[in-house]
Symmetry: C2
Subunit: 230 residues, 2 copies
Amino acid sequence: MTEATESKSQQAYAAVKQRIVHGIYTPGYRLVLATIATDLGVSVVPVREAIRRLEAEGLVTFERNVGATVSGIDPTEYQYTMQTLSIVEGAATGLSAQLMDKADIARARAVNNRMRNCLADFDPLQFTALNQEFHSILFEHCPNPHILDLVQRGWNRLAALRSSTFRFVPGRARDSVNEHENLLVLIERGAEPAQIEQAARQHRIATLDAYLRQAPGTQKTLSTTSKDKQ
Amino acid sequence: MTEATESKSQQAYAAVKQRIVHGIYTPGYRLVLATIATDLGVSVVPVREAIRRLEAEGLVTFERNVGATVSGIDPTEYQYTMQTLSIVEGAATGLSAQLMDKADIARARAVNNRMRNCLADFDPLQFTALNQEFHSILFEHCPNPHILDLVQRGWNRLAALRSSTFRFVPGRARDSVNEHENLLVLIERGAEPAQIEQAARQHRIATLDAYLRQAPGTQKTLSTTSKDKQ
DNA sequence: GAGTACGAAATCGTATACGAAGAGCATGCG
DNA sequence: CGCATGCTCTTCGTATACGATTTCGTACTC
């Protein structure tokens, strides 16, 4: 280890975050400071700090004198997150695409082909992992770290939701793989950044729309940013 | 007061944030926990929490075993912030514009006219305040609170920078007022959200470009998202 | 039997105290 | 005279302790 000692606050932050993202702590889960503290073998103060940071990222909700709970049960929250992510991820992809070389594209395509192979007997976890890998390649060259940070936060929120409330929409996976390929073709052709951005954004909005169509009793609280009509 | 007792952590957060945004603590300022604690008449623990939250918002930089400093001296950081803000604020404005009524537009126009009147004998502080008011009207109806939160964070960062390092570019103020009017016309005409979004984004990018052109020795580290060529 | 009020337990909020890690300064050596 | 080394002082990091607030259970009353 180069970084031999990591602050306990940092440890607590990473540990709790991981548990949320991995779905061990599901939305609504009550985070009791003292319990987490003893679990991790630290005091409550670092845990408080960790929770606060997670609150700032939107992963937990904190209520005064009551405590912290893992946030994000609400379908409305899902829509908010997806829309926001469509915007920042679209921008990140648009900015990054210009800087991708052939090797990057080849890597992305390879991942997408693995996703295609997954379609036969569908494993949501593996598919999700590959999906994240694919998109990471697409926006990894984004030169603006602030935007990348926002994208990462969005992904974390989604990861927290994924394992509990929100399930895959049948048929969406196949469309998704095809849209990925279209994106790669656009990038290969050296399309305008704005065009790539738009396509990447639309890709995510399509996933949101697919969810909204199949989710019973969920009203659409947002207009899905332009292109409502094809 | 309806909310008679506010947690001290909350107090500390608000107090420090205000000092940063108002330019009392300027970028590079060293935030010593104990000093702030005694200043506010509280203990260090709430102050730590406050600092951590501000760190998550990007207003302060925290270094282990060293301490916190108000962040954002770097011109590069300014570019990152402006670009990110162009994206999220553009999106917020695009989503909000559809929901504006005539009264909203009239309000915005009134503010912009006051900005125009300011041009004669220029008062940066007043101009900035009006500018913020103008844009707030434009994106206040944005139905996605996550996006609004990101916009607010961007503004806070800019406010922190404004009062110190980054000054107004001569002539930019007049262009800005004109672009505002153009935006209002677009909205009145019921333009496509995407078009309004693009215009709002471009408005901010123009400010960034104006800064980059006049700032000596500052290299442009980012391609300013599409429309590089007019 | 249902609703309300009181009390106990659980949990959060903050203060204080002490240990640890860096930064700066002085001193000694080359 | 310059550089390295060690010490001290500042400041952060965490633990423990205690007070404040909420919640839940129980008992009492209507």
